[in-house]
Symmetry: C2
Subunit: 189 residues, 2 copies
Amino acid sequence: MTTETKPSPRERLLEAAATLTYRDGVNIGVDALCKAAGVSKRSMYLLFESKDELLAASLEQRASAYVATLLPAADDGRSPRDRILHVFDQVELQSGAPEFHGCRYLAVQIELKDPGHPASQVARRIKKNLTGFFQAEAEQGGAADPGLLARQLSLVFDGASARAGIGADTLTGLVAPTVTTLLDAAGVR
Amino acid sequence: MTTETKPSPRERLLEAAATLTYRDGVNIGVDALCKAAGVSKRSMYLLFESKDELLAASLEQRASAYVATLLPAADDGRSPRDRILHVFDQVELQSGAPEFHGCRYLAVQIELKDPGHPASQVARRIKKNLTGFFQAEAEQGGAADPGLLARQLSLVFDGASARAGIGADTLTGLVAPTVTTLLDAAGVR
């Protein structure tokens, strides 16, 4: 008997799906996923109804880590303005990694081109939560139009991560001044 | 003899590649492309070295129409501010179409995840020209930092078209106020 806990086939499949679709795109084949996970196709289809469901589950599983790395801790005592800027500092930080390809929840929706796909639905929900965070902070910070500011910040978030993800731009000296300008214009000091 | 000019096999392949990759993604198969174009695979490979080259050529061919629908006419007598806002009015207009999936030159780079792919290279060059337009107008309009404003406008352009393309947001009441705020902050009146 061993006390070591090895990742289960389910965990290995979720990890492979997250890693390979982020690196290579949503059209990665079932064979490649199973090979990377060290799991037979038969086992995969016993665990997941389809590749689509596996992809959706892998996005879902990553959601809490995504939120934890981007968002500030609840009640960290900082101002709404600083809490909003924190999110963009994190994106700027992440975008410096060589394996950065932008926000996976944006990329998957662009690649699938199908809002009804189970993975698109998961991705859309997770992104909506980010807009919800911006809206709550904008309200707390006394923004003139919190709904507009939340939409603007989401737009900047996606534009920044997309452009950095394809190597069209770096975020240094770009994202912070842009967000600052929008916060100033909304009256969030 | 007929005087009617039918699209050539080359033209039909370029059209099919542009339409199908925009709708379904870059992983569309050669069989589907040839079928849509009504061209045999043998003929396709006589005209294009590979599917990658066909995709790159189809993006290249669309570039002049893309520029014509987005950019104002040279020397139209309007102010740099109005000429910049024109571009975003056009994106807002285009994004209302049911078949809108965002900017094809952004999508293709996100989907391919390979800056060295011939189609990524074409797409990157075309997007750089848009940033170049913003920079020239920003300089003309006396922006405090024309390079920064051009990067900001490119970021807003990509964020807006990506979010509208996946149906995460509409651009009405969003993109114009955002661009206006950035132009104001840069001193482009």
